[in-house]
Amino acid sequence: MSKSSLKQTLKDLDTKKISIRELNQDYLKRIKENENLNVFIHFSEDNVLKQIDSLEKDNSAKKLKGIPIAIKDLFCTKNMPTTAASKILENFNPTYESFVTQKLLDEGSIFVGKTNLDEFAMGSATNTSFFGNTINPLSKDDEPLAPGGSSGGSAAAVAADLCLGATGTDTGGSIRQPASFCGVVGIKPTYGLCSRWGIAAFASSLDQAGIFSHNVEDASILLQSIAGFDQRDSTSAKVDIPNYFENLDDDLNGKTVGIPKEYSIDGTPKEISQIWEDAIKVLEKKGVKIKNISLPHTKYALPTYYIIAPAEASSNLARYDGVKYGFRSDEIDSLDEMYENTRAQGFGREVKRRILIGTYVLSAGYYDAYYLKAQKVRKLIANDFNKAFKECDFIVTPTAPSAAFPLNEKQNDPIKMYLNDVFTVPASLAGLPGISIPFGKDKNNLPLGIQILGKHFDEQQVFNAALSLERSYE
């Protein structure tokens, strides 16, 4: 069955070729057929039917009217519980709607469910969720594969055609890496393009909302819908949001692409180097000038990230104390006991590990040696990109150092797991927009991804380059 695109579906709804109810019944059917993938933490058919009922009574024109969208369960939603895939937020019903989901509701989209993720978005395989693993829809029967993470549920929802688009969040690669693993398009925009208001915070200086979709055109439509200034997020950017879709242009003649030599890493599988070369060749044929660039501090991006992100997480997650919402332990002889037992029982292993490391690097006597040092190296990493973008319009790299790996692999060694983000973390530290698009397959016929990075707020260039590569590949 060929998956219909958002663009085509909007036309079909417009010309009454299909009704909102028919469209969503079709998706509901597939969601129920694919329950074994464990894509959703929260799914309620009744809830979806209610949304259809109310849209049918609504005569106003809306851009995404009736479009089934899946929401990463890190976004607070008023009509569905929000867990961040953690026991500590079990049974939490937000009293407000996140900025991003409100925008999607205002445009008439239908939320089919809340998707699984790594607990508090900390992970690269959607295997730290309190609600169990999500299975990559591309798995063969004998070997279930990981969908990547942390937004693995959203990537899988699009790959299994359970929705026409999904929201995700990306702190160090949590949209781009699962997009690559599941063979879908995933874009993390510039830091500040979409308000973080109402997203359970992980690392505030890095967290950014974004989109998963079947193709680049759909991503351009959906990103425009969730972008925008919001005064409730102090780092939300007041910039004009172009009509990305209308402005799409796959003619790259005369543009310059930067190829960073530091992204050729020892031990990268041959197939990944191969698709990178293929992408460069395609661009060259299209009249793009190839420029070898250097981002000298690339190798320090991962250790920098694994100081900054846990430090911010340890502070952000201090709010989960069993007082105001969520889980509270039964062992509560004193207030301190209540805190310590609630957090011991409410958080999973990876989250605790990151809180502990973050607390250590921020503690008296160690702050300068770790956190401050990491912030300085982060500055150098951002400077590398600023310099590189003086010589090129966009940068092309692989998205991830491997195709989807078997579930439960790489669980014991945290550093090995962290290496999944080697190609995505540098752009996160620099706040740059990045997209991953499917490009080529490995020897087991699993999809691989190419990443395109752009200048701050130059999502249009990122989309244009992605569209051009996508069209040459199809």
Partner: protein, 95 residues
Amino acid sequence: MKIDKNTINKIARLSRIKLDDKESEDYIKDLNSILDWVEQLNEVNTENVEPLSNISSSILPKREDVSNDTNSSEEILENAPDKLEGFFAVPKVVE
């Protein structure tokens, strides 16, 4: 070794997370290996480099300082694990 038994207990206490002995041992191992790995940052010369805390290149606008009372205390208390007469309830802190 940077993290020993005393250090992990101190960090766990600061984080308000109770650890049993087995967990403490695991985290001592994990944290030491992560800290050894991030040590490579010391190779980088960061003299006269400003620490980067906000990456945004846009100018962050100020908002007007006006209060905005949504008065949703009842709704908010619905999520509380324990509540009493319109307040969050916790174990007794004074004898």
